[in-house]
Amino acid sequence: MNNDLESKLKHALRPVAPSDAFTQRLLARVAASRDSRPQARPTASRITRRAAWWTSAALAASVLAAVGIQHQLQTERERTLGLQARRQVIEALRVTSQKLDLAYQAVRTQSVGGDRDSGV
């Protein structure tokens, strides 16, 4: 009974063909859609494109690295100049301080000598 029902089902459900008119329309439609689509690039061109992409990426990375190094060197140079300037300022202050000391002692010596002369 079950096998009989199953064989009847298989017989009744055999695939049917669509109309020839529909088949023609379908083939034309699919062909037209493929024609209107941009064609796939050939393999060689795809490889060239990939190489170009990697070259661009490598160039961009090199430029970024060069800019970074340049920035680092510039910072280092400014720091060295800053230290030199600081040292010079300290040296100038030290010299000025010495001069002031000398001047103060000279004034003080003159002041003590003047007092003695006037009998104070």
Partner: protein, 188 residues
């Protein structure tokens, strides 16, 4: 014109992947009966079946790069056709409760089978859920076993088996009832 052309189908596939229009046409001719019949029996209307068949083959022509063999293509076409039909039936059922069109010749213009059985099968298909209908068609139209059906519809094998059992039981009871009615009519 619309007869399948089984020879060199894998060569056709390779040529179709390379973009040769004649090879794509050959693939369509080889598989259109299966796709169209699934669509017609799932949706129950010729115009809807033609639209769905066209959509499936348009999608196929866009997806050929991912198809590895003729077996893969057959699997892919059945999967896309049944899933699209199930989606369409589910969308339709949200808006209307129209059963399969009674006047649509779902079993082909020439069939030497039992007309009572065919009528009964048509009514039975109309009453099935979209998934159960797909299971029945994949089993008896496409001759797939439950494991292949489960893979195609992405459902558990046990669900496939229970759909098949329920469908066969319902058909058997319906046919027994119809047979009794026929005998009673003859006696009157």
């Amino acid at each position: 014109m619309s007869e399948p052309r089984p020879i060199d189908i894998n060569m056709d596939l390779a040529a179709a992947r390379a973009g040769q229009p004649a090879a794509i046409g050959a693939l369509i001719l080889a598989h259109q009966r299966s796709v169209y019949s699934l669509a017609l029996r799932m949706l129950g209307a010729r115009d809807l079946a033609e639209d769905l068949t066209q959509e499936v083959f348009m999608q196929m022509s866009e997806s050929l790069h991912g198809i590895e063999s003729n077996e893969h293509l057959e699997f892919w076409l059945r999967k896309v056709a049944t899933n699209r039909a199930i989606d369409q039936l589910r969308r339709r059922s949200r808006f209307e409760m129209t059963p399969i069109d009674d006047h649509e010749p779902m079993f082909g213009p020439v069939d030497h089978g039992d007309p009572l059985f065919q009528r009964h099968l048509e009514m039975h298909l109309a009453q099935l859920s979209p998934a159960a209908r797909a299971v029945l068609l994949l089993r008896y139209q496409e001759d797939l076993d439950p494991t292949e059906i489960a893979r195609t519809l992405e459902i558990p094998v046990n669900t496939v088996k229970s759909h098949l059992t329920r469908s066969l039981d319902a058909m058997r009871h319906g046919l027994a009832g119809a047979g009794r009615e026929k005998r009673e009519d003859k006696h009157r």
